[in-house]
Amino acid sequence: MRAIDHHAWTNRWRDRHPAEKLAPAGGLLLLSLVAPPLTTGPLILASTTLVTVRGAGVPLRTLLQVLATPAAFLLAGVPFLAVSVDFANGFSLQLSSAGLHMALETTVRALAAVSCLAFLTLTTPLADLVPLLRRVGVPAGIIELILLVYRLIFLFAERALTGRQAQAARLGYTRLDRAIYSMGLLAGNLFQRALAQARRMEVGLAARGYTGELRVLRLEQTLSWWRLTASMVSIGLIGLAGNLLACGWL
């Protein structure tokens, strides 16, 4: 998670207007859901990898790491999709070519969709996306919650890490029973700290005139219509190519 955040803040496309990244990510995501997956999916995967690695300069390794977890879940699901259970004459398991085909389609489609989100999260910090949420009319309360959670995740991740290291230094994780005990203590401790932190932050915010609304300045970024249009045209071309390939016309 820290790696994702680090690249989001430091990649080559950090200063581009978030809409230039959100629109193609969303467009490709939509395309991955509606277009024939076996031909369009690989095209989408290739193009998101290309823009993330060559465009934004995020290391391929990081991208693969981000994709690894959802990919593992997808692969774990493949057997269940490929095999069909039949209760008609007793109980039988069948491995059908239709089932295999469906499993393959689902996996490719899902992987393509995940790659779109990976591109977005690796190139765009949350701070940039929030103003867009505001513009499309997400209520202020929800946006504030998103921001606070985002900020506190890092705070508590760090506390959890140092807490765990401190426990490990006193051999808290050498045996399974002690590890479970230590983890319980740590969780309880973090919960208390979260409450105390919330109270202190209330004091800190009140000192700065907090009246119930967390208003901050918008970031100054200019939208390049040229880049936005180019990305949309590319998505159209990918969709077209995918469809043509699926029909065997290309």
């Binding site: 803040w9 910090p125 701070a127 606070l148 900020r151 009140a206």
Partner: protein, 284 residues
């Protein structure tokens, strides 16, 4: 008649829920343009006192006077009060909430009702004053501790308070971080901001403040000129503090050959210069 002090605390009493007495008949006077150090050991209730200075905590007894008038605790008065008295908490994590430094600093100015353009200008000023203008677009959680500390101060500074109250501003900073911070604070002082800070560091209070209040057991034992207050051994012993090394050395140096009227050296450099001078005299 002299004008009333900017902020004054009279016979302040405060007990935490559960009956633990934190402040007991405390008096403190904050004059305009001062650099006041509130000196006391850890856990002596300094933070509790500072939380009273901007109305976060309500005293159980006694009163707080702003420009000589007793404060009230309704929304309107509190807002005005916190505009004038900016409180910087010890742990910057308790204060920073926004995703980028610039956005975080803009929070206070926008709460003051300033326009976005004005707020943007205030953010720029505050970041420049603390020498962190280059961090404006950085993620808050990726800063070093010293940078976070300065970002938290900038967040208060952008509201242009008359009094800047800092809880243990140098705690957790390395020597370079301390120097950078003190330099920034010195500039604020020269621009007319009244500074109040708590510390357990006698050397810092002696070397940097122009007035010292010794805090002990929920009350202020003495408030006044650093040389007078920190030269009083009985008082310091009572407050579990040691006299500043700088002052002790200077007193030793002057012993027997006093030059009354000559100010005590208040920094390393001044003390070393005095020592060199004395060594030269002796060899001559």
């Amino acid at each position: 008649m002299s004008p009333p002090p900017l902020l004054a605390v009279r016979r302040l009493e405060y007990a935490y829920p559960g009956g633990i007495v934190a402040l007991h008949g405390l008096d403190l006077t904050i004059e305009r343009g001062r650099k006041l150090a509130i000196l006391g050991p850890n856990g002596s209730g300094k933070t509790t006192l500072l939380l009273h200075l901007n109305g976060t905590l309500r005293p159980g007894g006694g009163e707080i006077l702003l420009d000589g008038r007793a404060v009230a605790y309704d929304r309107r008065v509190l807002d005005q009060w916190r505009r004038r008295v900016g409180l910087v908490l010890q742990d910057p994590e308790d204060q920073l909430f926004a995703a980028t430094v610039g956005q975080d600093v803009s929070f206070g100015p926008l709460n003051l009702g300033l326009s976005e353009a004005e707020a943007r200008q205030r953010v720029g000023e505050a970041l420049t004053a603390l020498d962190i203008a280059s961090l404006a677009d950085r993620a808050t959680h990726n800063l070093s501790f010293g940078q976070k500390k300065r970002a938290a101060i900038a967040g208060i500074l952008a509201m242009r308070p008359e009094i800047l109250v800092l809880d243990e501003p140098t705690a957790g900073l390395d020597p370079q971080g301390v120097n950078q911070l003190l330099e920034a604070l010195q500039q604020l002082h020269e621009a007319g901001t009244t500074l109040v800070f708590s510390t357990h560091d006698v050397e810092l209070a002696y070397g940097w403040a122009d007035q010292v209040a010794v805090f002990h057991d929920g009350t202020v034992l003495a408030q006044g000129d650093p040389d007078a207050v920190l030269g009083d051994r009985t008082l310091l012993r009572q407050a579990h503090l040691q006299p500043p090394l700088l002052l002790e050395l200077a007193q030793l140096l002057e012993a027997g050959q006093g030059e009354p009227g000559r100010p005590q050296p208040r920094s390393r450099e001044a003390l070393l210069a005095r020592l060199r001078e004395r060594l030269r005299d002796r060899s001559a």
